[in-house]
Symmetry: C2
Subunit: 126 residues, 2 copies
């Protein structure tokens, strides 16, 4: 028995200029840009809006720009298995998360839960 | 003076089987699938979760699958001009909305506002 939910969206930008990419998306979406500390801050910037439970991040990537969604779970392995049973495929594990591919072709990630109201908002799978 | 906000995300699926695509994403995200009436229902299905202000939709498309974001505005033309000033480009108008391209390469849409709490959640641009 575990829980999961749609956590948010990552705006993948094929650029080495994270600052300019995050500045554009923050201004476009009317969201406050917050740099992440240390090494993470080289690759990711977080965008904050009125909904504290919607995670939006700008990320520099080396593949063509896109947007992908994240599913957060209190048990990543159980969630990946649930999604495999629905037809998704594991692509690769990165630190604590899994990159998966949907039957409809999009790539998405299964990450460890972190939203403030995760327990209240998530679906419980039995 | 107009208002806009990040409205939500459209899961573009390169498939003619909207039902299967929406069923996968609804189950994956733990969201209720609602078919849209009439002709719209051929192409779009809406996903509902606990956040009534986050618009999530599955759409059949003829280009490769992806995810794109929508910005909603109470004045679409004013919002498109604001985004052009930030470096985005108009690609084409579809009915009441504009498809645009970000300086970082992603395509997104500017649509007419419709979220229940739009006025409270949107940023006012002067």
């Amino acid at each position: 028995m575990h829980k999961s939910r749609l956590s948010g969206f990552i705006i993948d930008c094929e650029t080495s200029d994270l600052g300019a990419a995050a500045a554009f998306w923050g201004a476009a979406l009317g969201m406050r840009v917050e740099s992440l500390p240390g090494e993470e801050g080289q690759k990711y910037a977080r965008l904050f809006g009125p909904d504290q439970n919607l995670h939006v991040e700008v990320q520099t990537v080396e593949h063509p720009s896109r947007v992908h969604l994240d599913i957060e779970a209190d048990d990543v392995e159980a969630e990946v298995r649930r999604l495999e049973a629905l037809g998704a495929k594991r692509l690769r594990q990165v630190r604590s998360w899994w990159v998966m591919e949907a039957p409809t072709g999009q790539r998405f990630c299964v990450v460890r839960s972190g939203a403030p109201d995760f327990a209240a908002l998530a679906t419980e799978w039995r």
